[in-house]
Symmetry: C2
Subunit: 352 residues, 2 copies
């Protein structure tokens, strides 16, 4: 089940069954404001709902303020080692901070951070990362999942002692099953919203698959309130992957879902080219719809029947469907244009 508590990050509710939000993190250095802004706007266009940025230098605080003023989504500062910097981030306008309890030792400053966050109505993410837990501490536990959850609980208690409960928690490892185990345990022992992610998941392709496995398992169990797919590559891919994961599970219905067959010897149209073309053209569409692009008569009409719009290939031509009704047969050269025109109609259709 979703977290019992709901928190508000810059006005956006997280947890308690609210829609699962999609996050990403800027690759740009906060020292380069214009680069941060360009990157952030691109992520926002792609549907990113919460933006995080690494803050590691006091001189970046004024850029943090400027960035916050330019964004209409919550901004989170990612702080390691120096809790004092997390306090300054909140006072400079960040809606929340992510702290890494694995590399923050100053208990009194963390308590001060909690008091500031409480007064300012801000959020603290207790962001545990397995790789940052000191070796000796990690070795003291039966398994890595328990080591992560226990470290989170210890930090949560510090924050709660200051009357602060606007907390979310993450427990990231690069190993999928360790991560799954940690979040499952956390979902039983704490009531705060959980921010899901597989850390250092890898390059775009393999990292997205790995994240989909881990996040898919947890989300299907009802665990997770906000997600970030971590990929080495374009941050926009993180947002795309996150929405495909959520859409696969019926948790967020955003964008055009393309149902398309893998093409086999039966296929008599250039299916791959058609799918690539459709995929590229529908990317900017945020409205949910299901579009089928099928190569042959075997599964084609059957699956296309379930889609809002669909085409099934024949010999150099195709049949177009709309909600199970055959609309027309058109030549292969006109198939994509005709389909895209119909997709645009569905997009503009208010009563859908």
């Amino acid at each position: 089940m979703p977290s019992k508590k709901v928190i508000y990050l810059g006005g956006v509710p997280i947890g308690g069954g609210n829609p699962i939000t999609v996050q990403s993190m800027l690759r740009s250095s906060l020292s380069d404001l214009s680069s941060c802004l360009q990157e952030a706007w691109r992520l926002l266009e792609g549907g990113c709902e919460i933006i995080r940025v690494a803050l590691y230098d006091e001189e970046q605080l004024s850029n943090l303020s400027s960035l916050k003023r330019s964004l209409k989504v919550p901004l989170v500062a990612d702080v390691h080692f120096v809790p004092e910097l997390a306090i300054k981030a909140l006072l400079s306008g960040a809606d929340g901070v992510r702290i890494n309890p694995g590399n923050m030792r100053k208990v009194e400053v963390i308590k001060e951070l909690a008091r500031v966050a409480r007064e300012e109505g801000k959020v603290i993410r207790v962001g545990v990362n397995l790789g940052s837990i000191p070796r000796e501490r990690r070795a003291a536990y039966e398994d890595d999942a328990s080591a992560m959850v226990d470290l989170a609980l210890e930090t949560i208690r510090l924050l709660e002692d200051e009357g602060f409960e606007n907390i979310k928690v993450s427990l990231k490892a690069s190993d999928v099953m360790t991560t799954v185990k940690a979040y499952r345990l956390a979902s039983r022992v704490m009531e705060y919203p959980l921010h899901l992610g597989i850390t250092e998941a890898g390059p775009v392709w393999e990292g997205a698959i790995k994240s989909a496995v881990g996040l898919g398992i947890l989300l299907a169990d009802g665990i997770g309130d906000t997600i970030r797919v971590s990929l080495t590559g374009d941050g926009l891919k993180e947002v795309e992957a996150a929405y495909v994961i959520l859409r696969s599970l019926g948790l967020r219905k955003v964008g055009v879902e393309i149902v398309s067959c893998p093409r086999c010897g039966r296929c008599e149209i250039d299916l791959e080219r058609i799918v690539r073309e459709v995929e590229e053209k529908v990317k900017p569409i945020r409205k949910y719809m299901k579009v089928a692009v099928m190569g042959c008569v075997v599964n084609g009409p059957g699956e296309a029947r379930d889609a809002d719009l669909g085409i099934a290939g024949g010999k150099g031509k195709g049949v177009i469907f709309r909600k199970g009704e055959i609309l027309e047969t058109v030549s292969e050269s006109k198939l994509v244009d005709r389909l895209l025109k119909l997709i645009k109609e569905v997009e503009g259709d208010e009563d859908e």
Copy 2:
């Protein structure tokens, strides 16, 4: 848990806790033998362990025989509509056939198929595809998952009546949760090995993510004995995705797993380029190892400590680790070459 029964497809055990095998399907038409051979060899090099090909014309049977003679992995013929053709496929050398009960009506011919398969020691996959189930039949069930499982059971009974039990079962829908529900139900009511897949999952990127969600959920539950990721695009991507899914769950340890961080403002080396270069170069390696490519000191050394080999970036240079031991500090320009050399050493190391 895995299936209770074990079957043998061309000598390869499927089910009963045997390693989960990776399949793909040829895009080429069986009418074009040389194209099929080229495609198949490429898939085999990528680690594909079972190859399927669409058979839809009697004239393709001689090519089916030739293809089988040229491959050292099991070959499955994919047959729709015409069970007679499935019988001929088995007699022409295919190790198994996939039949689609949604579009095969001739009960007597299916029984004959079972007798032939039994005599020849071959496998029949009862391959249900939601899109192929007649509309009226589908409407008669409470949900699509039950409709799929019931159709599979009906066909299984036909085969069992002829004393045939060398069966595997698939229940594919393009909707992830419908597919998950169907396989979960099947794992409770039948003992045959399950071939997992999300049908018509879509283009390579989104289809791989969708498949990873669905297959990940099932495999984490212990359901599934052989898998095929269906993507519209290069079949090799299906094999790659399948191994990443299995590796994520610790079910098959094959190839180089790259742990790499998403790069943030703290990163001072060109991490993306390095990761892309390493990713490309290690693709042919089948031996399992974990290689970390980290951008900064925050998580870098910690995570790289867990990897067989790892690098963590500094300013224009990097530190190289091996199993937690710092080996050396090298300049950014030499980092990849040095890492690859060490990877090659681990690859050649027999006692690993």
